[in-house]
Symmetry: C2
Subunit: 218 residues, 2 copies
């Protein structure tokens, strides 16, 4: 069976994976880019954006596991955009096609979980956004069908990862703990007491200051 | 000036430093011993209890920084015991002298923060418990006077460490992140947004599975 994988999922010391006040200009709200500086600095991230250079140590090694073997992604609507509610009726909503420009880095089908379905959007480079009103089990069945024998990436945000973890549908979870105290936002760990009993956990600190934690389902 | 140091302060992935339901039998409530297994296994901890053996790697190296150079400890009442309110009027209260037996491992004056002062208790081995109704600044002045030129250990629990951090009175903070999700309890990080701006942070993961984070005040 194909695996369900979470990669490069950054959390603060106090467990927040995103801040408050998400907007078009601040996808992670008041957290800004602080949770992902380690990722932006990697060769993997820079190459995704057509840039040369970048770090090539442990941060990059883990960052680079993001793409290989993935056949589809599932993401929450908050990762796709800052809008809530219906897609029509407000300026710019119907045209919104994500934060990632004309050629998103996914290159696979992407299933966006929303209570407000809309027609699929086919982007350049192989990414197609599908909008489905479905829970973890149903969306995973759709993603698996689209992915063939490849794995499914669970792209976030925190409430989506939490729901899949609560349903015990995650096989590989790569968390990056960033040494900042965000204070406010959305927590990853709420409602997951005893999660460690279902996973083997490895931790490795990076000279960049972050600590990677890799959860492998037992 | 002498330093204020926190050592071996364990927190769960979700930031809890103690569970709920503290009792005579469970100082850390439903967390049990899970937050401190790494510490119990060290040569340092075993030697404190007159036992031989124990781990001698990075966990022990950091655990062993606990004692040298310390001239006094400050602790919250919850670290001293599970009782709340007045010391008299209930069986066993007036006799309570801590969890640590006749010869506690502190070997210095220990200032217990409580709204219910009581006479000091002199134990074997150089530990004397003083009970004071005082905030961070005042208790630190008393501890410094007792410690001479030596450092002050801030012993916990989480609300006590949090108060001293909020007052910017901590110089050295050694946190150990244990890969468990406690779900409930008392959080260390609440109300400390932006703390990292005041500290340099180093992280090192141990083969035991925990990650040590050392905060040094800038």
């Amino acid at each position: 069976m194909s695996q369900v994988r979470v990669h490069n999922f950054s959390v603060s010391l106090d467990g927040f994976a995103t801040g408050i006040g998400q907007s078009l200009h601040e996808p992670f709200g008041h957290a800004g880019g602080r949770l992902h500086e380690w990722f932006f600095a990697t060769r993997t991230f820079r190459a995704m954006h057509g840039e040369a250079g970048g770090t090539t140590g442990i941060d990059d090694a883990l960052a680079g596991m993001w793409a290989p073997g993935i056949g589809a992604e599932i993401m929450g609507r908050g990762k796709f955009g800052p809008q809530r509610g219906p897609w029509s009726g407000q300026a710019g909503r119907a045209e919104w096609n994500g934060w990632w420009g004309a050629e998103p880095p996914f290159h696979t089908p992407v299933f966006v979980l929303t209570h407000h379905p809309r027609p699929s959007i086919e982007m350049a480079g192989g990414t197609t956004f599908h909008f489905i009103d479905a829970g973890p089990v149903e969306s995973l069945a759709l993603a698996r069908k689209a992915a063939g024998h490849s794995d499914i990436r669970l792209g976030g945000g925190p409430s989506t990862v939490r729901r899949f973890l609560a349903a015990d549908l995650v096989d590989h979870l790569h968390i990056t703990v960033v040494p900042i105290v965000l204070g406010r936002g959305e927590r990853l760990w709420d409602g997951l007491e005893g999660l460690e009993q279902r996973f083997a956990v490895e931790s490795v600190s990076s000279p960049s200051g972050v600590t990677h934690q890799i959860f492998t389902r037992r």
